[in-house]
């Protein structure tokens, strides 16, 4: 399965390609971003399979510790995506998410954790195309950044799931 190193790499076959692909964990709000991702699928608008989607009722549900835990468990990048400001299904959940996660993002930088590995997006239920585009862009960036080896994660992805 893995080519040379023992820790934190696994291959994913995509059209027979065995190069390393990043593990991206994504927290998607049920009403907007998850529906937008669903629309991308139904529209056959392809996006890389390196993204692992976790559905939450609202981006405001996302505790910053979820992001940290994702890195602990071997994620190379974490995305949180919700409704556009003003359009939250629960009125203000995304505003709370924005405050918590922007503070967290700066805290990460302060501690020496590369904040480029934490992304946020506003994707509505109608924005299937935007979803695919976001995933393609962040996958490209994650591939360029490489595996997150300096983070003290559990030894292998398999150990932590």
């Amino acid at each position: 399965m893995s080519n040379n190193s023992e820790t934190a790499t696994t291959t994913q076959t995509q059209t027979g390609d065995s190069a390393w692909t990043p593990r991206i964990v994504a927290f998607l709000c049920n009403w907007c971003s998850y529906a937008g991702a669903d629309l991308a699928g139904m529209s056959r608008n392809a996006y890389p399979a390196s993204i692992k989607i976790i559905r939450v009722p609202c981006s405001g549900r996302v505790d910053p510790m979820f992001v940290l835990k994702s890195f602990e468990r071997g994620a190379d990048m974490v995305l949180v995506s919700g409704c556009h400001p003003g359009d939250c299904h629960y009125t203000s959940g995304n505003y709370h998410a924005r405050r918590k996660l922007m503070v967290f993002r700066e805290l990460m930088e302060f501690l020496g954790i590369d904040s480029r590995r934490f992304k946020m997006s506003w994707v509505s239920a109608a924005e299937g195309a935007k979803w695919s585009s976001v995933v393609r862009d962040i996958t490209a960036e994650a591939t360029e950044l490489g595996p997150y080896e300096s983070f003290p994660s559990f030894a292998t992805w398999e150990d932590s799931v």
Partner: protein, 287 residues
Amino acid sequence: MSPVATEVKTLNEAAARAFEEGGVSVFIGYGRSSDDEPAVPVFLRKADEADKLVFDGTCFSNLAVYLAKPEIKAMGKVGLVVKGCDRRAVNVLLREHVVERDNLFLIGVRCAGVGDPQLGKCGQCDVHDPPDCDVVVDDAVDSPSGDASETYAAAAEIESMSLEDRWDFWKGHMEKCIRCYACRQACPMCYCKRCIVDKTEPEWVESSATIRGNLAWNVARALHLTGRCVGCGECERVCPMGVPLGTINQKIGKLVEQWYEYKAGYSPDEDGPFSTWTPEDPEIGIL
């Protein structure tokens, strides 16, 4: 509660007023256990025990930490000696309805700074005259000298390092942390009956003293103190391993002030930054 604090000359007088006029059941102040030790908290049950009270540059502890303890709450009205930093902590507890103002008799001390050499926080103190106290003790009239604009200096020094150097710095400190939770015990705002690290089924924050677990603990505590930490610095002072964890809280305090124009502990009823929002809140790099 009088609108203007009564000035008294000595702590003895303050204690007498607390019991006789204030009607307190317990008076929490600083005392001395031995000459070469810092001041310790003392709990007086009557006015004639007031000769135990001291106030000097070794009065480090933030006595507001006792206000949330069930044993103290069960005693009734509380008299509390507060430095400016401690008075700010009381405001956070008031805002969070942990205590009621009517249940407190506050003895403000015009502290000239603690520690020898004086602690960093004292240089930036802007609450030398603790606001809204019932009695003010004029033991020390000199203000600590210093510059309020230096409040975030310690955090700024770490910010000036490169990303890699910052990681090496914090990794080194997270290796030292032994998860004694002294930081949590010293903090007046850490009053949760069951702390997030105490939940084990499932485990929310790794309890083992690994770099990974220690990072998670320090991040979780700092996040739970967002908009609540008043920068009293006790957490860092009591850390037996010398982890500069106060700078993490300082960094978050700086963000909260810059982005949400909020500083904890200056008002007993202003909502905190994580309870509120505006449509124009700052966002960085949101796709």
